[in-house]
């Protein structure tokens, strides 16, 4: 069953927002205008969008190195995001976190994480807290195929299954742990198989098909809200750019042909084709949304670049709560 037109448009918009934010961040990084390392989410937009469309106030997300997409998907503010990437005082983390630690506690986004596998135990804590406080809230824990080999993931999965926590583990299997292909870092093909070891369902979904992700995530999240415990949702996806930075083609660990083949299945193109078939949004309509978001991106970059850097006196602030 196809989701309602407004849902499809919402998914489209969430994905476009991620894509255009990320493409701009990539350009800025290449041009040397933003410092540090950038782990782009481009190609994986369907996962964050399809899951986040089911989340609301009081729900939480734990994230990964590739965290911009998750924050945009739950409603992150472009201005404060770009300002953070630029290391400015107006950024989400006042310039203390940067790309790899960007967070918005008000949106329940508990941080991109510089540690592979750092998120799952924290997601267990957030989900425990939801259950303890008897809310109907859920926690979505995003992690990658690489993180699924970390002990922290297994400990978290065991605990979440044991306590039947309102948690959804979302594996963004983009085929590579950093630069190492999945078949060179784990013996299994479907990471969803691991859920069986912890007593909850594992589901494999096409991570380039946002409708498929949306529907599977919807079931898993509804299950969690009903108190029936976690689900492991494995989304088979692909990152169009490099592990870090923007190159993406002609690198030793994968072929240009492979990247091109996956780009044929660009999740945004796939959805736009569907929207056109359904008569919900034509090419001109899609272009209009794109222009609107692009304008927002430009405005946010201007805001960020004209924002002040943090004062050196802020260096040791907020080490402890006062």
């Amino acid at each position: 069953m196809t989701p309602a037109p407004e849902t499809l448009l919402d998914l489209h918009r969430r994905m476009l927002r991620i894509r255009l934010f990320e493409e701009e961040a990539g350009r800025l990084s290449e041009a040397g205008r933003i410092p540090g390392a950038l782990h782009l989410y481009v190609g994986e937009e369907a996962v964050a969008a399809g899951v986040a469309a089911h989340l609301g106030p009081g729900d939480q997300v734990t994230s990964t190195h590739r965290g911009h997409g998750h924050l945009v998907a739950v409603g992150g503010d472009f201005r404060r995001m770009f300002a953070e990437l630029f290391g400015r005082a107006t950024g989400y983390c006042r310039g203390k976190g940067g790309s790899m630690h960007i967070a918005d506690m008000d949106l329940g986004m508990l941080g991109a994480n510089g540690i592979v596998g750092g998120g799952p135990p924290i997601a267990v804590g957030a989900a425990f807290s939801n259950k303890y406080r008897k809310t109907q809230n859920v926690t979505a824990c995003f992690f990658g195929d690489g993180a699924s080999n970390e002990g922290s993931f297994h400990e978290a999965a065991n605990m979440a299954g044991l306590y039947r926590l309102p948690l959804i583990f979302v594996c963004e299997n983009n085929g590579f742990g950093e630069f190492t292909r999945q078949d060179r870092h784990q013996a299994i093909r479907d990471i969803a198989d691991r859920a069986a070891g912890y007593g909850f369902p594992g589901v494999v979904v096409d991570g380039m098909d946002v409708i498929a992700v949306y529907e599977a995530a919807g079931e898993a999240i509804a299950r969690a809200r009903r108190g029936e415990g976690p689900t492991l949702l494995e989304c088979k996806t692909y990152r169009f750019y490099d592990h870090v930075g923007v190159r993406g083609m002609g690198v030793v660990y994968r072929s240009d042909d492979e990247v091109r083949a996956w780009r044929e299945r660009d999740p945004i193109t796939l959805l736009e084709r569907r929207l056109a078939e359904l008569g919900i949004l034509d090419a001109a309509g899609a272009a209009a949304v794109r222009d609107q978001v692009q304008a927002e991106v430009r405005e946010a970059v201007a805001f960020a670049e004209s924002s002040p850097f943090p004062d050196p006196s802020a260096l040791t602030e907020d080490v402890y709560a006062s």
Binding site: C93, G97, M105, P121, N130, G151, E155, E317
Partner: protein
């Protein structure tokens, strides 16, 4: 005259138990999670009876999964609860180091002050019970080096209760270290809730001509050493910092200005230990008042041995402390 209540004696294990009970009675957001803390009441016995009183939602037995256990505390603290996470033996903190050092300690700072992390991690350190190298360590220096973590060490029942209450009330991550060899040590513990303010040292024995700064179990040994030193005409002042981070440097400096000599004593390995930090600070802040280099007593640079014959030499004791004081004074020990 003190009242009957004021004279009430409790062993450390019961002081911890009473503190946890009062904290959970006071605030429904406080819960205790750890390995064997609920049904069994902890392998050390400090959480006995809490499951019956507060139920399994608030006194939570967890799998043996230290990383997920600390993560449980981080995620719960970040979303409004006030968790007390028990890591059975301090040695096991290595298994959870990422969650402690990279997540708990840094979340507030990395997020520009937006996160509040009222997380307490309670653990047992110390040698002397023939538990060998993986169940006997004193690793407090590891955590003192990490900005974002507060670290406190209890030297007796009064401190055990007051420090854990202060830790749980604090909005930052605090590591509360108790010493397993002290669990049976009884002393005066007020019945009501009280805090030992983090960052406030105690002069446990005032003295005039030597300063001994000791942490954890070494406070008791240092008090015994001070008695021995009296026979040599030395009136030693014994100071228990109680909290290592934040450290009450002022009280230490004030004492050295009076006595002109200091010895730092801890159970942890001396090399790279927290005593080096105290010694360095005293030399920076009170150099003109010092008549001798600041001395240090700690464990030798080795893992904790199993054999009682070896372990007795490993853990510093009153005799070693007293003889080191005498050595610093240029007298035969």
């Amino acid at each position: 005259m003190t009242t009957a209540t004021a004279q009430r004696q409790l062993p450390v294990v019961m002081a911890i138990n009473e503190a946890l009970r009062q904290l959970m009675q006071e605030d429904p957001n406080v819960f205790l999670a750890g390995e064997d803390v609920a049904l069994y009441g902890s392998v050390f016995g400090f959480s006995r009876g809490l499951l019956d009183e507060f139920g399994p939602e608030r006194v939570v037995d967890t799998p043996i999964s230290e990383a997920a256990l600390v993560g449980l505390g981080v995620g719960a603290a970040a979303t409004g609860l006030r968790p007390i996470i028990d890591i059975m033996f301090m040695d096991f903190m290595g298994v959870a180091m990422d969650q402690i050092v990279n997540q708990a300690a840094k979340m507030r700072y990395m997020f520009g002050g937006k996160a509040r992390l009222p997380l307490t991690i309670h653990t047992m350190a110390g040698a002397g019970l023939n538990l060998a190298a993986q169940h006997s360590q004193s690793l407090e220096a590891w955590f003192c080096h990490v900005p974002g973590l507060k670290v406190v060490m209890a030297s007796g029942p009064y401190e055990a209760k007051g420090l854990i209450i202060a830790a749980v009330h604090d909005d930052s991550p605090v590591i509360v270290v108790n010493n397993k060899a002290l669990l049976g040590l009884a002393g005066h513990v007020p019945e009501e809730m009280y805090e030992i303010p983090l960052g406030q040292a105690a002069v446990v024995r005032p003295g005039t001509n030597f300063t001994i700064i000791a942490t954890g179990r070494m406070v008791q040994e240092s008090l015994a050493a001070a008695e021995k030193l009296l026979e040599h005409g030395i009136d030693a002042e014994v100071i228990d910092p109680r909290s290592l981070v934040p450290l009450d440097t002022a009280t230490l400096v004030e004492s050295v200005r009076k006595t002109h000599r200091a010895l730092v004593v801890h159970e942890a390995v001396r090399f790279g230990g927290f005593g080096a930090e105290i010694a360095a600070q005293l030399q920076e802040l009170a150099f003109d008042y010092l008549d001798a280099p600041v001395g240090r007593v700690g464990a030798p640079f080795s893992p904790v041995p199993f054999s009682p014959a070896l372990e007795a030499h490993y853990v510093p004791n009153a005799d070693r402390i007293a003889s080191e004081v005498l050595r610093l004074l240029g007298r035969a020990g």
